[in-house]
Symmetry: C2
Subunit: 233 residues, 2 copies
DNA sequence: GTCAAGAAGATTGTCGACAATCGACAGAAC
DNA sequence: GTTCTGTCGATTGTCGACAATCTTCTTGAC
């Protein structure tokens, strides 16, 4: 009646069932790197031809990307890269504040020791990437930081929601280019949040995180508004 | 340059692309009516055979249901009706509190006039269904009430998240049977929320809603815990 | 009797093909 | 010149079939 717990995994289980997942990553990268722009059409047959496989896995990958918010589908018309609007970004950040603040409060109420290790690593990583002048990877470290908060909150559902909006957030950040003139700023803005968590100050952590995300919200929407004006002018 | 705003829509737009949607509804109903129980396997071929169509639309429907949380998929194993645990329900309700409280605050800050009409209708509907002794439809009216709050919050993202957890919430409620001994209680517990919104009291509305959902959270988890004990005993 | 190895059946993953639908263009009617 | 209609190419929606994988049952050794 007892489960045998995989007796010595010598070889890393090569992920079969990885085909769809692979396609997901390819398309995700293409969007997040700007090779596919908002509004662009994703033709199943085209992508399938390019990758040398059938339409079925491509279609499935597109459906997954739809749930993650990177593409939208129209009946009988197919998939398109999601258009990003100022309103959508604003709504997105409001939801993030709502979720992450609740998550960090629970995190502090529980045992934040393990989380703190990871959070510290991410901030340091942001610093390193600031010196290396790699804004794209820096954004990923930023997202990883915030994901960790949700992950260690003790409520798995927070992670689910975060993952569903993470890609779209990343897309909006990517479209902007860089948030701050001084790349070191990104790491610094996370410090107060870390400190409050380390001090086991739940309310302080919530406030710090709300301020942190709220600031990003204003900066991002402002930059994006200007981009939009210049673009349509 | 002016748009003609659909000059008199005589015919209602009939939704083509309804095949997959139809399958979604059929499976959803089967689960929510208890004909498919948690843990049950959903075989694509079986369902396709029963409905007299191919596996493709069934598969697509299953993927949609996965995003709505009613089924889970395992690679190379297929789809199963989601198992409901006490912890999952608790996490679900915590997320609901987080989302809906933020939504109602924004709702009151904006213009709640239109929302109030719909909310009143839902409460009255609950009363009627309590007299008619139709707990299943009553649950749907309950969900509709809470969805309206998200819908009129002005942040479309709140609705998106709500829809993604609505079915699972409904499933948990369905499994329990009935929440209150007195079916009228359900309508009554919504009144304070309605009153606070009508009074344009944002903080009061948030508090009332948090209390309302929090109470439901305790009742549901308690009942479910007992069910679980009896079931496994 | 217990456990491991292998065969048989069932189910998912993927494929290529056909039908239904959409968007664009050309042509006819006014 | 404008508007409607018919046709065409392209794309999605659906289908049935095959290969890969998992599950179950049987077989055999200890």
């Amino acid at each position: 009646m007892s489960m045998d717990p995989a007796p010595d995994p010598i070889f890393a289980r090569l992920d079969r069932a990885g085909l769809v997942q692979h396609v997901v990553r390819l398309i995700t990268d293409a969007i997040l790197q700007g090779r596919l722009k908002p509004g662009d059409r994703l033709t199943e047959s085209g992508i399938a031809r390019e990758l040398g496989l059938s339409r079925a896995p491509v279609r499935e990958a597109a459906r997954l990307l739809e749930n993650r918010g990177l593409v939208v589908s129209q009946p009988n018309r197919g998939f398109f890269v999601r258009e990003v609007t100022v309103e959508a970004i604003d709504s997105l950040y409001e939801l993030r504040i709502c979720i992450e603040c609740a998550a960090v409060e629970r995190l502090v109420a529980g045992d934040p020791a393990q989380a703190l290790i990871g959070l510290r690593e991410r901030i340091d990583e942001m610093r390193d990437l600031a010196e290396a002048d790699d804004p794209l990877s820096q954004i990923e470290a930023d997202m990883a930081f915030h994901r960790l908060i949700c992950l260690h909150s003790g409520n798995e559902r927070f992670v689910t929601v975060f993952d569903q909006i993470a890609d779209e957030t990343q897309l909006s950040l990517m479209l902007i280019g860089r948030l701050y003139d001084d790349p070191m700023r990104m790491a610094e803005t996370h410090e107060p949040v870390f400190d409050a968590i380390a001090a086991r100050d739940a309310q302080g952590a919530r406030a710090a995180l709300e301020y942190h995300i709220g600031t990003a919200r204003r900066v991002v929407t402002d930059i994006f508004r200007k981009l939009k004006e210049d673009g349509s002018a």
